[in-house]
Symmetry: C2
Subunit: 171 residues, 2 copies
């Protein structure tokens, strides 16, 4: 799947979720495979609605079974790391954060990447459900079999400072 | 229309907009007539998804032709007033902010309240369109004939500090 195909697929998910976006927003949807070249399994599709020096809001799409790899948002220049709320709008998302490991989690890490997934406290989000991730907390997430559309409400996004557990990842 | 009827009507709008909310969220939808006792004309229905010390996200419903009266979010203890982005999800919203008055605006203030509406720079938001209101800027908004569902992304909400142009309003 190339980037154009991925963008069209992302637009299909917005349609399924009945989320309207403008033409100029369609143009600037971000498709990222995080430099791993395995987009269908590992990656994320993002439309940033607004990102000011005070808050940020995005709509994110995960394709079926696609994983956004483990990362955290560290403190920057004395300011606490990004705090973020994930709200499932459509589909299903499995979110993993620091804390007591869930005994039989629903998801497995992408093949060959097991060592880069270290937090196993599972939160299941169905449409209308949300969870707020504390700053500087490791987390990763994977969608269910139908994919997912997730709204993210947060403090300012500074993606280039994200720290991924997998050292091969480039954001 | 009493508060229970208004809540049920609000839920109808979330359904029309295909926005899923949880049962506990249904319970805590805020219906406010801003103390004026004319809810169908003047008021707002709000579901606050999250409001931390860093950001806030809400879903707002306006009934057909309902007006949220003119107000601003002032600086508090040296911190800039609330900055907020309105994103129309369903229906149509007419937003008025400070700036050059629009020659033939689409809306009129609620009857008998004309003096309390002083800003006339009109922004029309259809589904998928959004606008960011600067801190401490007077604004008011009214929905079109079908009502509207609007997402609000913002810095932290501190509603009790809102300054309304109409001195009879209690938030």
């Amino acid at each position: 799947m190339n980037k154009k195909q991925a963008k069209n697929k992302t637009l299909d998910y917005f349609k399924k979720a009945k989320i309207k976006i403008t033409k100029s927003e369609m143009e600037r949807i971000e498709i990222t495979d995080l430099g791993l070249g395995r987009l269908e399994e590992i990656g994320l599709q993002i439309l940033t609605y607004v990102n000011t020096d005070r808050y940020c809001a995005k709509e994110m799409v995960l394709f079926p079974g696609q994983t956004c790899p483990e990362h955290r948002h560290p403190e920057i220049d004395g300011e606490p790391g990004k705090q973020e709320t994930f709200r499932c709008r459509w589909g299903k998302v499995f979110l993993y954060v620091e804390g007591n490991p869930t005994p039989s989690p629903n998801c497995s890490p992408p093949e060959g990447n097991k060592d880069h997934y270290t937090v196993w406290n599972e939160i299941v989000l169905d449409p209308g459900e949300q969870y707020t991730i504390s700053p500087d907390t490791k987390h990763w997430f994977q969608s269910g079999k139908d994919g997912a559309v997730i709204s993210e409400f947060s403090s300012t996004s500074k993606d280039k400072y994200d720290v991924f557990t997998n050292p091969n990842i480039e954001r």
